[in-house]
Symmetry: D2
Subunit: 365 residues, 4 copies
Amino acid sequence: MTLRIGFLGYRFMGRAHANALARLPMFFPDTPETERRILIGRDEAALDDAADRLGFTETATGWRDAIDDVDVFYNLAPNFLHAEPAIEALDAGVHVLCEKPLADSLDDAERMATAARESDATAAVAFNYRFLPAVARAKRLVEAGKLGEIRAFRGRYLQDWLVDPTAPWSWRLDADLAGSGALGDLGAHTLDLARYFVGDVTRVSGHTRTFVDERPDPEGDGTQSVTVDDATTAQLAFENGATGTVEVSRVAPGRKNDHRIELDGTEGALRWSLERPNELLVRWPDSRGFERELVTEADDPYADHWWPPGHVLGWEHAVVHENYEFLRAIAADDPYDPDFEAGLAVQRLLDAVQRAAADGGWVEP
Amino acid sequence: MTLRIGFLGYRFMGRAHANALARLPMFFPDTPETERRILIGRDEAALDDAADRLGFTETATGWRDAIDDVDVFYNLAPNFLHAEPAIEALDAGVHVLCEKPLADSLDDAERMATAARESDATAAVAFNYRFLPAVARAKRLVEAGKLGEIRAFRGRYLQDWLVDPTAPWSWRLDADLAGSGALGDLGAHTLDLARYFVGDVTRVSGHTRTFVDERPDPEGDGTQSVTVDDATTAQLAFENGATGTVEVSRVAPGRKNDHRIELDGTEGALRWSLERPNELLVRWPDSRGFERELVTEADDPYADHWWPPGHVLGWEHAVVHENYEFLRAIAADDPYDPDFEAGLAVQRLLDAVQRAAADGGWVEP
Amino acid sequence: MTLRIGFLGYRFMGRAHANALARLPMFFPDTPETERRILIGRDEAALDDAADRLGFTETATGWRDAIDDVDVFYNLAPNFLHAEPAIEALDAGVHVLCEKPLADSLDDAERMATAARESDATAAVAFNYRFLPAVARAKRLVEAGKLGEIRAFRGRYLQDWLVDPTAPWSWRLDADLAGSGALGDLGAHTLDLARYFVGDVTRVSGHTRTFVDERPDPEGDGTQSVTVDDATTAQLAFENGATGTVEVSRVAPGRKNDHRIELDGTEGALRWSLERPNELLVRWPDSRGFERELVTEADDPYADHWWPPGHVLGWEHAVVHENYEFLRAIAADDPYDPDFEAGLAVQRLLDAVQRAAADGGWVEP
Amino acid sequence: MTLRIGFLGYRFMGRAHANALARLPMFFPDTPETERRILIGRDEAALDDAADRLGFTETATGWRDAIDDVDVFYNLAPNFLHAEPAIEALDAGVHVLCEKPLADSLDDAERMATAARESDATAAVAFNYRFLPAVARAKRLVEAGKLGEIRAFRGRYLQDWLVDPTAPWSWRLDADLAGSGALGDLGAHTLDLARYFVGDVTRVSGHTRTFVDERPDPEGDGTQSVTVDDATTAQLAFENGATGTVEVSRVAPGRKNDHRIELDGTEGALRWSLERPNELLVRWPDSRGFERELVTEADDPYADHWWPPGHVLGWEHAVVHENYEFLRAIAADDPYDPDFEAGLAVQRLLDAVQRAAADGGWVEP
């Protein structure tokens, strides 16, 4: 059986997932076969170009009809377009991988999760960083108890592409289209890893700031309003008693893609940063400082599919591994994690941080 | 004129300040002359030993009488002993340097600040990290506008000496004696640097945790209760609009003395850590990443008093420089910063974080 | 025109180049089209498997006949099999990309270079690290004079897979089959970068050591002799007056793939390591320390073909870029660098280091 | 008994040793008592100033007479003034600590070592870096077999104060006054650590370069010739079979005092740099990468004399510890290491590297 695949969206994420699908046969030969069938978008000329480049055999300008012709639907569209197509696909029994955050609002996320529960299809949310070897190894170490009980989570995700006040407006800067700014765009990843490593969050506080209120209209002479956060900080209280801090920013000079996760436990500690994705810093029990591990050994997650030890992987490999797990789960009819429940749980946290920031107190997600 | 100096306390901080006084004549010859006159403590045998070693000519077991015999009084006692001796000294016209945090409660801190305002004597609080060359250079860069306007402050101070649940109880673990735990002990430094670099804080949120509730009594077979925080996180809102995050912990495995400060501005950014105190990471305007500077050049703060470039200083030099500035201010009758107002401002923040943690909302300091 | 491609070899390097060819259409659409036509090897069963996985349409157990059926021949075989197939291919007008080192002896390398000179076909040697964005950017900076005149080159390439004395014997450990050990395997890369960045070398000294003389036979109960170096150090004198040091080792605990290049100039300096391939450390003129650059900006070499800034590449991308440049040179009939002359120049240096190590003096390459 | 001490020299090293002596009573109370008795120099006005500042009670403009009045003689003069005063002092039974390198020539070093052998006095050479806690801990680990047998030593010492071609001439740039340049000034330390960690060296090769041939006369309008090396590289063959590489430079942009030592063994590895003197990177047996240790724990060498864990020391503490060991050895009539034999052994290596560089081959030290 060959899985027929449709993508809604063909920019950054479209390229990332198309690349992933194209690489699986060579490096993960036990992945089910796939066919890049339909690429969906609005601009026909751009769409044809992209389909050609990304290896799709057909294009479509409406997602509704296209859904009927595929087995798997990748929703890579802007956040405000996540809910309807994903729900319709799931209702039609089509498997869905949806980019993060799951939705632009908690309401939509709940509707999506309901649809997923009621469907036999697999519903995945693209928290791809779980699938980097270093992050997956970190999870193994935590589950093996190497850190003892987790007492503190520190997560932050800093970028600098909005430092320049003349950087143009885009849908990512509009609350109606994106839901939130740095919080949903970057913080969704960080909050997912918080839950992945430490567990449920019982309450959050939040602090949100927009430093540049309007930005040049990319298609005109004027400006458009920025209605989302440039930067957000939050505190988390976990059910297990651990503390958490999260900070996200798109106005942090010198940080290109600095997604850092730190865990403190009763026995040990971990540190990881996306700018050095192959490295894991481990403070083992009964030792002093952190050991720098290059997570490229044959017995590290996914590593034996690629190159000999020391030959590092890049950002995109997270997406390859994610696709591998997703497609394998579909073929085996296995549960997939992170699913829409995970996406919804993160959406609750995003929503809670926004409410907390608005109200000034701690709130429950 | 030789300044006669008295110390209340002769342990870690007593040694650090005695060392500082002993080193000033050789490296800062324009410091006023000092005489280590009276060392004050309770245990006479230990006191004699310490006085001999630290170069004091006399000892005393009561601070009240001793104050009359000195020109400068260093209050290096546990927090609950900060207020009375400091106030009496100031009332008597004796200059005071008080260890941090200023007091074990906001009430005491206010009384101390009042005493300082009403006294002609100099009243200093020992936020010594301001006087490390890298921190002082960071201040210069911020004031010169190299970072533009500050948008984000990140401060954290992590240690690991309480990870071991059998580490013994001490006064630092008792709310009545210390005021707070990691928050006051470590966070006082971090909050002072927050104010030093960014300015006034308008509101804070807080989250406080105690993971080990009782610890072995160091002088008996039983245990004593831990009534202070092992770890605290906080969010800050600054008057200038910047966000701030603070995290302190004494249960962070692998962190020996990891005091980190990060600043993001509209033009540049800075990073610094106490575990590498001579290094400043600067993201200059219009550049990409951070430049690692070794702050040992002849024109760096304090550096020309010591060794040629590249010959790094240690932790203790912060205390030497602090004493230099303090004594010079006394001799010149100049204002000294950080004074008791700075100490009080930090105490308001410590108090606010505790209130916020208890009440669950943001509070004003 | 579609270039028909044949590979001799299907292990690590076979997979790396097949991956590169498979990825070019999506990310470098101006690359000439290619067809993975014939995969050549000895073990038919393994060959069929590999051909299937790597996307080849045919297999062959002899390279001679296969050469006639392809336009481009990739020689990915062990070193002792580099010369004959490459020469025959070039004689037949078939383009050749040969893995490094160019040959197992200087004689063979010279014969290969002669064949390349006399052929109209393109002859490339696989010094792939030139094509990592950070290395290519380093070259730009050097050529733009940012470092001034180069005075010192430091290169080292350390791995640890032979630390374990029970690691099995392979052809890489036999002087007749490999030519040399760590020197040719790792040092070929380092010496190529020495020449790439600094220029011709006029004399070398060398020091070679084998610490483990025999290793388990992978196909039997006994052992086989190790007749190549485990580790080698060398000094270089460059024509421009710069000094150079090179160290290579396969017995360096904790170094997985630590290829480091450092350049000191009259105005600035550079550092780079393969374990963090996306980072370039630059000491700019009139600055203090090194700035850490993430070489993922849109105007960095190759970067705009991939992902947004901060989304790092991996080891394998060096091979993708190498294939892109190689195939583009073929299609445009442009010269390709590094060609067999570059391979020969490095072979002269490898040979000179071995002679110097044997004779105990400096020798000319 | 109070040891009467005389210093020849009062600049950088004079200040460093005077500081050390001044600090010992407080932090190393078991050190024998000392009196800074006579400061010796040529310029009377400068001498008086320095004596006042460094705590000497007398001054002298000739070293011969002064020797009779002291128990311990510190020779901190330029290299060409090392031999005569040290020999006369030893002949007179006066203990000597001589700055490194031991002499400006192998002949002088041999005469000095002979004098030391024939004297009952203690003769020390100031290889102070052995006494940094991290280096001393490294030695412990090596002796405890944590690295197994050492197979490779990498040492380099890079500074940048001569990058600027207008940096003025000084005695350090004259072969007659200094013996050699970067080699003796910096490399003496590195070669001492090579011997300290790995043992005797059986042969060396060398490569020496002077990039700036003349420099401004600091006391006139003209220039003076530079007759020593700006940079030197060397290879070492150790008696135990290990390889070694050494590189020293005073023209390495961005390196302020970058003295690095790396050791590879059969079981583990170590790395250390003087720019981060408190850190030791250890690759333990059966682990992956390097653990970063902060060498400030109570059971680390010298650490318990100072501050709690995590409160780092500076460069100068090496000199304090060195003085402690030296004076304690004198008082106890214990052997002191590194003594003049160690100084001579390094001088043989310096001489051998120079001969090798001149002759172009490997030479025996």
